[in-house]
């Protein structure tokens, strides 16, 4: 959906025209619950490795197309990962290698 008001960011949608509210719900998958848990744990006062503002800044800087195409917790894990990279908690190289390892493990498991 294109942004009808160029002065507004894509996530800032209050009051804009939109369709009927579909009463959709789903049971959250374990990976989604884990994303939620990562955000809570990383933001905890004992760690302070992410703030809600950092999460939102990274979600809200997604392009309109990505924002609408990604599911809710996809946007979250994308943003959490960006913050951890920006803060130097993890590196792009480490992340790439870990994803490769996980994919290889998954393929083996069939």
């Amino acid at each position: 959906m294109t942004n009808p008001d160029p002065l507004r960011a894509h996530h800032d949608m209050g009051g804009l025209p939109a369709g009927a509210v579909e009463p959709t719900e789903h049971d959250y998958a374990l990976w989604e619950k884990r994303v939620d848990a990562l955000m809570v744990l990383l933001g905890h006062k004992d760690r302070r490795l992410i703030t809600v503002d950092e999460l939102r800044r990274n979600i809200e800087s997604l392009g309109p197309e990505a924002y609408d195409k990604m599911s809710y917790y996809e946007r979250w894990i994308y943003a959490i990962t960006q913050v951890l990279l920006q803060r130097g908690v993890i590196t792009v190289d480490e992340l790439g290698r870990k994803i490769e390892a996980i994919r290889a493990r998954e393929t083996q498991r069939g």
Binding site: A20, Y28, K33, L38
Partner: protein, 214 residues
């Protein structure tokens, strides 16, 4: 169960619908990213697998029963209700509900005012008392429209608010969450707190529905 066919198998084991596919079965790009980030954080000692498991369990244990307990208490104890409306976070803690660092504001429905909550910018929700939000709460259509035409949106949920009742829409923020205290249903005068709490649904505390009738 259909009686049109002559089956010999044990019907108790026949699936009438295909089982819902497990979303964890498909290793999507972002699911792999979640696993990778979590494992890296565990490798680095930032957190443990046990921390993650415990936090998932903590959220799984949160549902609308928590908010319902607070609303039912307010229905039977007017002094408590005043404290709840003055300071939601303290009132929740007073009855043993953990609301964490977020500020909780409880807004009361009356014969002349109906309240409904939204987060237009993202998905802020009184998750500490209701659990994780339903998908529609986070949807573009709800977030866009409920602030402009709440009466029409509520009607889509089957909730028709009379024209002489004012509708107040509360836009939540990351640090401050609203919870709606619905009106106590008629015919519940002698009911106890636990019985009353069963009438207080999640949707009634979001404000898209009324409490269940007695």
């Amino acid at each position: 169960m259909s009686h049109d066919h002559d089956h010999t198998e044990d019907h108790a084991h026949v699936h009438r619908y295909p089982p819902r596919p497990d979303q964890d079965d498909t290793l999507t790009y972002y699911r792999a990213m979640e696993a990778a980030v979590r494992e890296l954080l565990i490798d680095k000692g930032v957190l443990t697998a046990e921390d993650v498991r415990r936090q998932v369990e903590n959220m799984d244990g949160r549902n609308a029963g928590l908010g319902a307990k607070m609303v039912a208490r307010a229905w039977i104890d007017s002094a408590y209700k005043q404290r709840m409306l003055a300071n939601g976070s303290e009132a929740a803690e007073e009855i043993g509900l953990d609301v964490g660092p977020l500020k909780l504001v409880v807004v009361e429905n009356t014969p002349t005012v109906h309240n409904v909550i939204v987060c237009t910018l993202c998905s802020c929700y009184p998750r500490m008392l209701l659990g994780l939000p339903p998908d529609w709460y986070k949807s573009r259509n709800y977030r866009s429209r409920v602030v402009r035409e709440p009466r029409a949106v509520l009607a889509e949920f089957g909730t028709v608010i009379p024209d002489d009742v004012l509708i107040r829409v509360h836009d939540s923020t990351a640090d401050m969450r609203y919870l709606v205290a619905p009106r106590r249903p008629q015919g519940t005068e002698n009911w106890g707190e636990a019985e009353l709490a069963r009438l207080v649904t999640r949707d009634s505390m979001i404000g898209v529905a009324l409490a269940d009738p007695a």
